[in-house]
């Protein structure tokens, strides 16, 4: 009797069939699992990230916002699960990444222009192609500073502008931004935020933005992805669809205020939980 009760359960757990996301999904995350020091950070995490949208990731401290985008970008290995970009793996996908700490992201031994051109050189582009792309980028960013200087000779905002240009140079399918404004002063934050919005309107690149500033997160977003405390789940995905270009006036629109308030409520609910 006992023996039967304690017998190992070898029931065939069927592998759950792959469920594709809704139409317009760019990044599909299924069954993502990641342990940190023996504790689950993400367990069987599913998420669909839409194409050509900006998704802001927001959540309590330590819930792994940056870890999430780093796992998607392949900078942090995952324990198990699947991440697909339009059905392709990361290996076949061009991505761009903007770090919070621009000082340690740029290469100080290269001139700024060579930093920006570096991903193109990695792709083996010819000098003419690189030059053409550089001219395009300079025009679309309306660069007012001297790109022939070394990164450390530029201001923080100029360095971060350059690192966004570097990330966008190879025309990535997805742009990851890990708190790109946190190390900048307010003036530069506003400036780069506008630049980012402009670039997005020009190119429609899918963007994943981690932010600790709720106003900024909502302001730039098409979707606000709110996460729970660990083990991290999706708390809520709030759509926010005010037309672009968004301006200072947007900040006082009822729809903006409503989305921000709702985000804050969900955030507080999750923090207390």
């Amino acid at each position: 009797m006992n023996a039967v009760l304690n017998a190992p359960v070898v029931a065939d757990v069927p592998v759950p069939p792959f469920k594709p996301g809704p139409a317009g999904t760019h990044i599909t995350i299924r069954g993502l699992t990641k342990y940190f020091a023996g504790w689950p950070l993400y367990e069987n995490f599913d998420l669909d990230i839409p194409k050509g949208k900006i998704v802001s990731v927001f959540g309590p401290n330590g819930c792994g916002k940056s870890t999430l985008i780093n796992m998607i970008a392949g900078l942090v290995p995952i324990d198990s699960g699947e991440i697909l970009f339009d059905g392709k793996s990361l290996k076949d996908t061009k991505i761009g990444y903007v770090f919070q700490n621009y000082r340690e992201a740029m290469f100080p031994w290269m001139r700024t222009i060579d930093n920006i051109a570096y991903p193109l050189k990695l792709e083996g582009k010819s000098k003419a192609e690189v030059d053409r792309r550089m001219a395009e980028l300079v025009a679309s960013f309306d660069v007012k500073f001297d790109l022939n200087r070394y990164p450390y000779e530029l201001s923080g905002g100029q360095q971060q502008t350059a690192s966004i240009m570097r990330a966008l140079a190879p025309k990535p399918e997805v742009l990851f931004l890990d708190e790109p404004f946190s190390a900048l002063d307010f003036e530069m934050t506003l400036f780069i935020r506008e630049k980012l919005q402009e670039v997005f309107m020009q190119t429609g690149t899918t963007m994943l933005l981690v932010s600790h500033d709720l106003e900024e997160a909502v302001y730039l977003a098409d979707q606000v992805l709110l996460l729970t405390k660990r083990p991290t789940k999706v708390a809520e995905i709030l759509p926010y669809s005010d037309p672009r270009p968004r301006t200072v006036e947007t900040l006082s629109e009822p729809s903006f205020i409503r989305t921000k308030k709702l985000s804050l409520e969900i955030f507080q609910r999750e923090v207390r939980r």
Binding site: A105, M106, F107, Y118, L122, R166, P170, F176
Partner: protein
């Protein structure tokens, strides 16, 4: 109460206006900052001179400073001191070049394969901590009493310093720059040549600078004690044997000049080549 305070008020107010007068004279300031580096040497020169002048130390043991400096300058301006100076410089340069050419690439490669470095770390640390002069007899057995011997042992001592610094430069490379290259699709080789090598430049320079000092120290010691007929070390020992103190001190100062000049040379080179250092 109210009365007394109103009486006090004008009294207190009077001295208040006073500081305005001396303040007018204040803004003149002499900048002594530039003279500071000269104070130490000049003081030493004076103390040295007085010590000899008043006989605190016999002139047969310590020559007056002015004479010593004259001997140094005359010697370096084409005298026999110059020949020994150049011999020592040449030996140090040879030893240093061997250490640099072997050590930097070796250190960078070991550093980028951290497991490889860990497996030889003890050896490097052990022999780095062993005074190289203690190995002179061993090198004597291998290379005999020769010029090569002096260069070889100096190169050995300097090599370990270079390897250690270059390897740690790579190991401690800013992880984020490596990640940035990785996310842009750089291969391992591209990360190595475009990021790790550059990241290790600054610590490598620290290593090279210490290495050149180490090479000079060992060359001088080797010239003193391994049968030698040239070089500053040999000259110092020889003039000491015959109590030619003036020449001895001049040779010591020449060795100091050489060490200091090499150090400055490397500082300047580092500032020019690793232009981003510290920014």
């Amino acid at each position: 109460m109210a009365d007394s305070s109103s009486v006090n008020a004008p009294v207190a107010a009077a001295p208040w206006s006073a500081p305005a007068v001396p303040a007018a004279a204040a803004p003149r300031k002499v900048n002594w900052g530039r003279a500071l580096p000269f104070i130490g040497p000049v003081l030493l020169f004076i103390v040295w001179d007085f010590t000899v002048r008043f006989g605190a130390i016999k002139a047969i043991l310590l020559p007056p400073p002015a004479e010593t400096v004259t001997t140094l300058i005359n010697g370096l301006a084409g005298g026999p001191l110059l020949k020994d100076f150049l011999v020592t410089l040449w030996r140090t340069t040879q030893a240093f070049l061997i250490a640099a050419v072997v050590g930097v690439p070796l250190g960078v490669v070991l550093g980028s394969a951290e497991k490889a470095y860990r497996s030889v770390e003890f050896l490097i640390d052990f022999f780095r901590s062993t005074p190289s002069s203690a190995l002179i007899p061993l090198f004597l057995m291998i290379f005999g009493v020769s010029d090569i011997n002096k260069v070889a042992i100096a190169a050995f001592g300097a090599l370990l310093i270079v390897v250690f610094n270059s390897a740690y430069g790579v190991i401690n490379a800013r992880k984020q720059r490596v990640m940035a290259a990785k996310v842009m699709g750089a291969s391992r080789w591209q990360i190595f040549k475009d990021v790790l090598v550059w990241e290790s430049l600054q610590p490598s320079f620290v290593g090279l600078r210490s290495a050149v000092s180490m090479a000079l120290v060992i060359v001088i010691v080797a010239e003193m004690f391994i049968g030698s007929d040239s070089g500053l070390g040999n000259r110092i020992i020889n003039s000491q044997q015959v109590m030619n103190v003036r020449d001895m001190y001049a040779s010591i100062l020449a060795a100091g000049v050489l060490g200091y000049a090499l150090n400055i040379l490397f500082l300047v080179a580092e500032r020019r080549i690793v232009h981003w250092s510290g920014r």
